[in-house]
């Protein structure tokens, strides 16, 4: 009896082992291996949210416009366009040779259906208000009007017209975003919500979704019908979902990845020494900041205190020594790299740190604090070694310059976000903002009073009116002046403490060709190539 059990166990082990050996997929043609730091929540153009989802979506779809390898706006599914009516009407002429992956032509109606679906409440799209300036968009999202009233029109199969409430100079940038990609209505009818499944999903981009194993990888293969397929060099792309940065680095070191999404902060120096040419650092459209809770004391009524705290931080030391990865210290809110804009800098940007410290101490005293009455305040950040290191450094700076000890509290990300929203317990909190498009508006509009993204609760009517005036201003130079003035107001109020501007860090194997650093950190696989020995 026990012999039979033993035999059964051995047989089970054998079966498991043999099945584990089962065919590894054979690579046909060139396959690019990229790392993704988290699982995309969806590859449906209207249900994606994170930059990771967008990274994959950009390979399996194409909007009216696109970017090239160096981050310049180029024609995508539209080959040309006209802007009329003081910037409120856009007419796009679609490429006659554009095709879906099943050979069907891409026509204007596909964009109309898609944009309507984006704003339909039932879709529950995260980016439903991305094109909020389209006529009736806001009303449709709120359920007050029907999706059919959206300001889009298919004039004919190859001509698409968009109608806006206000001029939007960066509209062309918006039309590169996956939420504006077309959908194939026939596919939706046939498959319903399953139209995004590998095998069903049609693509008008350079690649088609082939396989998605949640937690493991996403595989896309060449779309033979893509209008620019002749220029696509790589046949297959595998996105490996690697949440731990160290795990991703190990895979890169072992030669199993061509491109990483990050470099772990702890290993940065080692990586810089070992792979100096593979390491790609580029300015990125993001700002790392500490926000104040402006709805409660002590920061609500004390601009001097806010300014003091901001001035007492040595940003150069922070970025140069403590972080040390090439980030730029932030003396403004809007990062460099946005078009048609000259960021204002804070008034103390040109002082030395010693001079700043002196002024900071004076302001601190003016606010009513001193050695007998030190400021008692909490700084919250989401748990991570990296954020902790920065918080500890700033705690020390405030202690040395101003003489108070800020209490550091680390919380899980979701908890911190909930606290920031509720504005009950937060006083100073760490957060960041990444821009969606290279225009100052994406950084400045989020601090208008009453919007959900206004984390500090900043409410300055002058600021609001400047932003509104900029939004409705068709003349680009006048618009720019309004935006720059708005930033001046924001910085003078010290509603937030910008610390540094993001830098994207990736490792790119020497075998990869066609790589272009750009401020958006967009790297379309169709621009890349692999040298023969992979």
């Amino acid at each position: 009896m026990k012999n039979r059990i033993l035999l059964a166990v051995i047989a089970l082990l054998a079966v498991l082992t043999i099945s584990a050996c089962a065919d590894a997929p054979r690579d046909e043609g060139q396959t690019l291996h990229r790392g993704l730091p988290s699982e995309p929540e969806s590859l449906d153009p209207h249900k994606g949210r994170t930059t990771q989802a967008a990274e994959v979506q950009r390979d399996i779809g194409e909007g009216l416009l696109s970017y090239n390898a160096t981050g310049e706006l180029v024609a995508g599914a539209a080959q040309s366009w006209e802007v009329t009516d003081e910037g409120k009407t856009y007419t796009f002429y679609l490429r006659p040779e554009a095709r879906w992956s099943n050979g069907d032509p891409v026509i204007a109606d596909h964009f109309v259906s898609s944009l309507r679906r984006l704003v339909t409440p039932e879709t529950a799209a995260f980016y439903a208000q991305f094109l909020e300036d389209l006529v009736n968009a806001d009303d449709i999202v709120a359920g007050r009007k029907a999706p059919g009233t959206l300001g889009v029109e298919a004039v004919n199969d190859l001509t698409l017209r968009l109608f806006l409430d206000e001029p939007v100079p960066y509209l062309l940038n918006l039309l590169t975003h996956p939420s504006t990609f077309p959908i194939h209505p026939g596919s939706m009818e046939q498959h319903g919500e399953d139209f995004v499944r590998p095998g069903n999903m049609l693509s008008n981009g350079a690649y088609v979704l082939e396989e998605w194993v949640p937690g493991l990888n996403i595989v896309v293969r060449r779309n033979e019908h893509y209008w620019n397929n002749a220029e696509t060099s790589i046949d297959r792309v595998i996105y490996h979902v690697l949440v731990q940065p160290m795990a991703e680095l190990n895979r890169y070191r072992a030669g199993e990845l061509h491109i990483t999404s990050n470099v772990p902060a702890d290993a940065f120096q080692t990586v810089k020494e070992q792979y100096p040419d593979d390491l790609k650092l580029a300015q990125n459209l993001g700002v790392y900041y500490y926000g104040f809770n402006l709805t409660k004391p002590p920061f609500r009524d004390s601009p001097e205190l806010r300014k003091a705290l901001s001035m007492a931080i040595d940003r150069d030391m922070l970025t140069g020594k403590i972080i040390g990865r090439g980030e730029k210290p932030a003396y403004s809110w809007v990062p460099p790299g946005v078009t048609n804009y000259k960021p204002t800098v804070m008034s103390f940007a040109s002082l030395t740190q010693e001079e700043r410290n002196i002024v900071a101490r004076r302001l601190y005293a003016e606010a009513g604090y001193g050695p007998d009455n030190p400021l008692e305040v909490q700084l919250r950040y989401n748990t991570s070694d990296f954020h902790r290191r920065i918080a500890v450094a700033i705690q020390a700076m405030w202690r040395d310059v101003l003489g108070f000890e800020v209490t550091l509290i680390n919380e899980e990300a979701q908890v911190l976000i909930a606290n920031i929203r509720e504005r009950e317990v937060t006083q100073i909190f760490r957060l960041s903002w990444i821009g969606d498009y290279p225009d100052a508006h994406t950084f400045l509009s989020i601090l208008q009073s009453g919007v959900s993204t206004n984390t500090p609760g900043y409410a300055n009517p002058e600021y609001d009116s400047l932003i509104e005036r900029a939004a409705s201003q068709p003349d680009l130079d006048r618009r720019r002046l309004y935006l720059e003035e708005a930033e001046r107001v924001l910085l003078a109020d010290h509603a937030v403490i910008p610390l540094y501007f993001y830098v994207s860090e990736r490792l790119v194997s020497p075998a990869v060709g066609g790589w272009g650093d750009n401020v958006l950190d967009y790297h379309y696989s169709q621009h890349l190539s692999l040298s023969a020995d992979e």
């Binding site: 026990k2 584990a20 699982e39 039932e122 999202v141 499944r197 949440v243 976000i417 909930a418």
Partner: protein
């Protein structure tokens, strides 16, 4: 036996119900929701999403909705992975976790029982001490220390084994995760086997067998092994639970798309349905496997059956 099984299964239902209620309450008690993120959503969009996922309904109603879906075998849509249902995700991830767990368990049994037996036969010799010493380290050093060390040496430095899980390699990618997962269990089983084997080897019927002229290995194989394994079999229940929980860490470290990884992700993402689904699944699995162990115990030890 049949009656016993049925009664046990029936008794499991209130347990599972309690687990579901507790898990549901805990998951909703955690601050933050499934759709919160650094980039806050405009109120209209939040309202649309809440409506689409029934998060705007009162909690008891949401619970009943979930329960009725559960009774039909539908664990609901994943809140975080909008293109997949929880059934999809569990169905896709579980075979892999099961494979890893089963291989680790098998390895642990074979190596553990073997090491324990050898140690028992060579009691108090150097071999005994060495074997027990190794097993002590296996218990003491946590998984999340062992795994990265093994990866660093065997994968990154020596390139003998792959550093992680990727769909382009074969059997070799199982080796490190299975070994890492099995190590603490090898240790426990070795110690259990050794103690139990020593006890059994001292019994009268063994002396009888020896007196009849049977060699040591035959004695062990035919007479000692089965009774010596009984304590190990009782340990199987907790061992399975330990492998399930240990798999979470191992899967994280090696990037294996198993249930453990989804469980952690789900909790961090406040993906209510995914977390609940995995909790229900794990709970049912543990109840079932414990039942199997109890039945096996009866099969192997006739004395239990007669009760």
């Amino acid at each position: 036996m049949l009656r016993y099984t049925l009664l046990r299964l029936l008794g499991a239902i209130p347990t599972l119900l309690l687990v579901i209620v507790l898990a549901f309450l805990m998951v909703h008690a955690a601050p933050g929701g499934p759709f919160d993120a650094e980039r806050a959503l405009p109120p209209d969009i939040e309202a649309n999403i809440a409506r689409a996922y029934h998060l705007d309904e009162p909690l008891p109603k949401q619970f009943l909705r979930y329960l009725s879906g559960l009774l039909q075998g539908d664990l609901g849509p994943s809140y975080r992975f909008r293109d997949h249902t929880v059934n999809d995700l569990i169905g896709g991830a579980f075979p892999l976790s099961m494979k890893l767990g089963a291989m680790a368990m098998a390895l642990a049994l074979v190596l553990g029982a073997g090491a324990g037996t050898v140690a028992a036969l060579r009691q108090d010799t150097l071999l005994d001490r060495v074997v027990m010493g190794f097993s002590m380290t296996g218990i003491s050093i946590p998984v999340f220390v062992v795994a990265p060390i093994l990866v660093l040496f065997l994968a990154v430095q020596l390139h003998w084994l792959p550093a992680g899980w990727s769909s382009t390699t074969g059997t070799s990618r199982f080796v490190l995760p299975v070994v890492t997962l099995a190590l603490p269990q090898i240790a426990y089983i070795a110690r259990l086997t050794r103690a139990s084997m020593i006890d059994v080897l001292g019994r009268d019927f063994i002396r009888t067998a020896r007196a009849q002229g049977l060699g040591t290995m035959t004695v062990v194989r035919l007479h000692a092994l089965k009774p010596a394994m009984l304590p190990v079999l009782s340990y199987m229940g907790p061992a399975i639970a330990a492998i399930l929980t240990g798999s979470v860490v191992v899967e994280e470290i090696f990037g294996i798309p198993g249930l453990g990884q989804f469980f952690v992700r789900g909790a961090l993402n406040r993906d209510y349905t995914l977390v609940l689904g995995i909790v229900v699944f794990y709970a049912s699995l543990i109840v079932l496997l414990n039942l199997v162990v109890d039945i096996l115990y009866g099969v192997i030890d006739p004395r239990v059956r007669r009760r």
